[in-house]
């Protein structure tokens, strides 16, 4: 039971890292990234190859995976982020497909569609959990800083953002790069947890899963992304029987959310001391009213 729980938490953390990046890029900056799985794949393969072929220590492999994924975002983002969001969305989609194709066909290096087996299971919660928490903390700080405000300005209205001296292109690039780093890190951890990697693990289904988490939790809230990652990673594990229908439900859920409540679960609500306090206060006020009504009703 304990091992099972550890497994779920590990998967949650890995997904969370990838979702954090997506939350920043798509949620806060408004650039729709359809191909997160591609970045995960880069992180996973580079990290795995470093460990297995270069016998690098785990930390170095992880860093290499992170950097590779982050650096790829630069040439990819340069032409596409200057244009309308549609171009970027399709470019990321094409990118993920391209990575999968490359991986499948560079058999000598990547093992083709059979992938890389027997990766040492170096991912443990003692490393993963603090790293994940640190990343959540860092992203939260960024989002509440003036840079975060500039990202949101870019999302809300690019022309107005430019008029207040926000370098729209630069902020999109930064978000894209950070997203690359986080996804690459997630990929590295993933490779060293599952023990093997194959191109089929990094297809549309994975990208979809991750984007759905961001949408579900609320694109404008890091807390939302965290909560959604927890729920949507944990839930399917428990409901494993309905796996095939899971994506069908996701599709319906996404449309439903967009039509009914595009802010997602959390909207723009962030978990801070201030917001917790005000939540507690309103709960108390509600309870008091309920109490009063009950007793007035009886008397």
């Amino acid at each position: 039971m304990f091992v099972y729980l550890q497994g779920i938490i590990t998967l949650i953390c890995i997904n969370l890292l990838a979702v954090l990046g997506l939350s920043l890029l798509t949620g806060f900056t408004g650039s729709f990234n359809f191909g997160q799985a591609g970045f995960l794949a880069i992180g996973a393969y580079v990290a795995a190859l470093c460990t297995m072929k270069l016998h690098a220590p785990f930390v170095v492999s992880l860093l290499a995976g992170m950097l590779a994924s982050g650096l790829v975002s630069i040439p990819l983002g340069y032409p596409t982020l200057k244009l309308k969001g549609d171009y970027f969305a399709i470019a990321t989609l094409g990118f993920a497909e391209a990575i999968r194709l490359l991986v499948e066909n560079l058999e000598k290096v990547t093992g083709g569609s059979r992938g890389i087996p027997s990766i040492p299971p170096l991912t443990t919660l003692t490393i993963l959990l603090p790293v994940t928490l640190a990343c959540i903390w860092l992203v939260r700080n960024y989002v509440s800083s003036r840079h975060g405000r500039s990202c949101v300005a870019v999302r809300e209205d690019e022309i107005a953002a430019q008029a207040i001296a926000v370098d729209v292109f630069k902020y999109k690039q930064v978000s894209f790069f950070v997203n690359g780093l986080l996804a690459g890190l997630a990929g590295g951890f993933l490779a060293h947890y599952v023990g093997f990697i194959q191109p089929s693990m990094f297809g549309m289904a994975k990208s979809t899963e991750l984007i759905v988490m961001v949408i579900f939790g609320g694109m404008h809230s890091v807390t939302g992304a965290v909560v959604a990652a927890i729920i949507l990673t944990g839930l399917p594990e428990i409901l494993r029987a309905a796996a095939a229908w899971r994506l069908v439900m996701y599709g319906i859920a996404v449309v439903f959310i967009m039509v009914v409540r595009p802010e997602g679960l959390m909207g723009s609500w962030e978990l801070t001391f201030a917001s917790l306090r005000s939540l507690c206060l309103s709960c108390k006020a509600f309870a008091r009213r309920l109490y009063g009504r009950c007793f007035h009703g009886i008397a």
């Binding site: 860092l138 700080n141 960024y142 800083s145 003036r146 840079h147 975060g148 405000r149 500039s150 949101v152 300005a153 809300e156 209205d157 022309i159 107005a160 953002a161 430019q162 008029a163 207040i164 001296a165 926000v166 370098d167 729209v168 930064v174 404008h220 723009s268």
Partner: protein, 254 residues
Amino acid sequence: MGLLRIRNMTKNFGGVKAVDSFNCNVQEGRTQAIIGPNGAGKTTIFNLITGIYKPSEGEIEFDGKTITGHAPHQIARQGIARTFQNIRLFPDFSVLENIQAADHLRSSYSLFHGFLPTPLRRRQEQASRAHALELLHLVGLEQRFGERARNLPYGHQRRLEIARALALEPKILLLDEPAAGMNPEETQGLMVLIQQIKDQFHLTILLIEHHMELVMGLCDFITVIDFGKEIAEGTPEQIQANPQVIQAYLGVEE
């Protein structure tokens, strides 16, 4: 010596000449207006000045430096701030955050400080918040600092947009139809506000307007354009008496 000098500026959109060899000089410290019938090219001129469009021909000089073809955010940084005809606030932000988003002088900390809660960052955030509240007080919105910008009534949204532009500490403020949709009372209030901020911040003002009381009441100098070309220039008295202006606006009497 003009603060803003526009020389022979032309803008073509496909086959349409939206702006045609436009010339304009805005002296420092003036309140100047560009007026003309709808579709004359006024907002296009603003968009050209602020870098949203690149001129097909001609040059724009600001504070002695050429800004033709520069990126919009760079031009904003040079000291040109603007408001928009169709109010472009950040709807999801609070009133306060809208202003803070524009304050790059008070909060200028680097990406490094963006990721970590350093003392420098805390100080700058406090300064920017204080500055934003000051500006909100100036436009009479400080009580509503926490509200979502999209929930503000129309007149207040316009004021907020002006306050946001001021956060940039600009040298020149471009106002695109600031009194659009306002009743006479609100227009009066706006005129008072514009004069107030002009005096307080030593601004140069360039505005596009259709409300003639505002234009005639506030401005030192007026440029009239039609079909993208300037047809008259001068003081309010001169413009009011100019037959070409009357013809362009009102048609010729038979």
